[in-house]
């Protein structure tokens, strides 16, 4: 159909970051085991972004002697030198006829002047990952799903989501997302408390720290709270007043109480084919008449939401939103 491109990535990206992930020394031993080196701390989120069923191992690198500032609603205030390290991988059991592997590692590096986002793609031998500013695709065959072109974002796409008031910002590590337990050296403890005890984080009285429910665990919150948590992490990086999709008038932070702004009987502004012939983002009680359901339940580039970062429908997530809308009055 067309002449393929021969592209020589000889351009040096040295001013952006190391060419290889191993050069940062975030991990000890076999790099593919992702065992954190000193000053590297594991963390999880209560409700994570869906990324084609990839599992994620997240770490924070904090320079020796630095301290993170607490914030009740925004992402914690990370000092210059901080690196957020997010590894995307599949386990053997998730894949059809292939071994599990790490697909990519995304770094958010806090420099003096602000954050930089860099994507690293792992080699087949799983011995290292290389900086690829134009991103890339890799074929993956998930059990029970179609073969997909797993997409590693390019530098521009990184910014497309990690953007707040025009600047790059982390999305996940807010206090409400980090307020959960994790295993530290074999011992289970709250992630925020761990950072506090290691004198890496200022913390107010623990009772006052907000907590986002776990989207798929009914014990952690009501259907409404879990659906709102899911929409926050999957949509609100763009759909908030300071985000790239502010022009839509749809604002999906879990804290937003304005029904119209979260889509209830709200007409779309510039949805194009995304409307799917439907008139409102959410019609209470009628998921199949709601644009929300339609766009989450699609993989067409012109229709699907989020626009980036998935080739598959998140069946379980769609179910949650469907149930949420069905139960609205």
């Amino acid at each position: 159909m067309f002449e393929e491109e021969v592209f020589d990535a000889a351009d040096s990206y040295a001013h952006l970051g190391f060419a290889k992930l191993s050069e940062y020394n975030f991990f000890q031993g076999d790099i593919a085991d992702l065992i954190p080196a000193s000053n590297v701390y594991p963390y999880d989120l209560n409700t994570p972004l869906f990324s084609d069923y990839a599992l994620k191992k997240r770490f924070i690198y904090l320079p020796e002697g630095s301290k993170v500032g607490y914030h009740e609603t925004d992402v914690l205030k990370f000092p210059p030198g901080t690196v957020l390290i997010k590894n995307f991988y599949y386990e053997n059991a998730q894949l059809e006829n292939e071994l599990g592997r790490i697909m990519e590692t995304r770094l958010l590096i806090r420099k003096e002047e602000g954050w930089t986002a860099l994507p690293y793609i792992w080699n087949e031998e799983q011995t290292d990952a290389s900086l690829e500013i134009t991103g890339g695709t890799q074929k993956v065959s998930l059990l029970g799903k179609n073969l997909i072109d797993y997409q590693v974002p390019n530098l521009g796409q990184c910014k497309g989501c990690h953007e707040l008031n025009g600047k790059i910002e982390p999305i996940g590590p807010t206090a409400r997302q980090l307020n959960r337990t994790n295993i530290f050296n074999g011992k289970e403890m709250n992630q925020l408390v761990k950072l506090y005890e290691d004198q890496l984080l200022d913390l107010p009285a623990f009772d006052n720290i907000p907590k986002l429910p776990v989207w798929d665990n009914p014990k952690t919150g009501s259907l409404n709270k879990r659906a709102r948590a899911y929409l926050e992490i999957n949509c609100a990086h763009c759909h908030r007043r300071e985000g790239p999709a502010k022009n839509s008038g749809l604002y999906l932070l879990a804290s937003n109480e304005n029904e119209s702004e979260i889509g209830v009987m709200k007409a779309p502004v510039a949805a194009g084919q995304g409307s799917g012939g439907l008139k409102y983002d959410i019609v209470p009680g009628k998921p199949e008449k709601s644009i929300f359901y339609h766009r989450l339940n699609s993989t067409e580039a012109s229709v699907m939401m989020p626009e980036l970062g998935r080739k598959l429908i998140h069946e379980e997530g769609v179910m949650l939103i469907k149930e949420w809308i069905a139960n609205m009055n």
């Binding site: 067309f2 002449e3 592209f7 390019n154 521009g156 796409q157 953007e163 084919q273 409307s275 580039a301």
Partner: protein, 424 residues
Amino acid sequence: MKIVNGVFLLGAMILNGCDTPLEHNPTRGYKSIEKALMSKILLAEDSTVITLEEGHFIFKNSLILNGKKHITIRGKGIDKTVLSFKLQEDGAEGLKIANCENIVLEDFTIEDAAGDNIKVTDTRGITFRRIKSAWTGEISEENGAYALYPVICTDVLIEECEALGASDAGIYVGQSENVIIRNNIVYWNVAGIESENSENVEIYNNHAYNNTGGILVFDLPGLTRYGKNIKVYENEVYDNNLENFAPPGNIVGTVPPGTGIMVLATKDVEIFKNRIDDNNTANVAIVSYELIDAMKGKDKKDKKEEGEEKALTSTQRFDRKWKKDKSYNPYPRSVYVHNNTYSSSLFPNLGNDFGKLFLLKFGLTRPEVVWDGILSEDYLLPTGEVNPEYKICVQETSVKSATLDAANDFENLASNPESLNCTL
């Protein structure tokens, strides 16, 4: 003049009257330069010119320019340099520009993005010059929404561009300030040119023809800002009779085929010295959001459905969430239409309710300028005079204008009413 109009009319009938689909099928031989161009754009230092060679280039991903200043992306000319997004897998836009300052795009063609061909957001200073933005193949609902789409921008210049095939608007400027749209050609779109929730906009010397609606000036509720101070002049707006092919649910889906210039719920709009010919529903329509909202409640699809929305009374229908947006005013106000020239074919477009209504109420001399006549509570001052802020004025020679009194089942519909006889 009559002969000229006759030729246009014939042209309109040929294009719309028979079943031959409208198609744009340029010859293309593609080459991929995706990674090379993408890295060039991603790594561009401020104040650089990115030159695109002559050729047809195909992309699987959006090209993204973010956070840069003084960048020019320049091709070798319309249809000489072609960026095609026919194979797009990721992202909805072809070229996406965000958080930039002083960007110039010129001399290339861009085609077939899944969503919008060029979207620019949060940018101060954006120029589109000699860009052709199109969807190839048959004109269809599957086409992307906007051909050229600056939104939340300031200092926007769009000139000498060509936009066709957009299932929403060819040239669309939203939530922006200080905008000039001039010397462009727009056809085969649902809306030719649309200014939405934008301030200080001049739309002049454009040709808008064979769209569903030629030039639209809209304000919608619940957005970051509202529009005012818009001038539409010296444009040629003719034969906008194309069937509406917007995906249902989109606001432009409510625009009746045969609309020349339409003003919706915006203030301080001046429409003058345009040639407005043969738009077979209304050459100029001035409407409130209440009318649009009522129309949205009863579009084609709904008629087939079980009718839970039809059961709503009009009052209930108007009491939608948008009413909660206190800073939104749903009425067009301070609108002045003057010194335009008009001609109309004998028969209105009977494919929509307005065409039928006009034939019924006005016979074969239907009005060139219509206002829905839905009045704000603030339309009249306590003294009984028209509130100057709400004036709708029409000064045209020997042309019929009308108010429809749409809120009261067209009971007090009037031709050339005295209320429109004012100046601003």
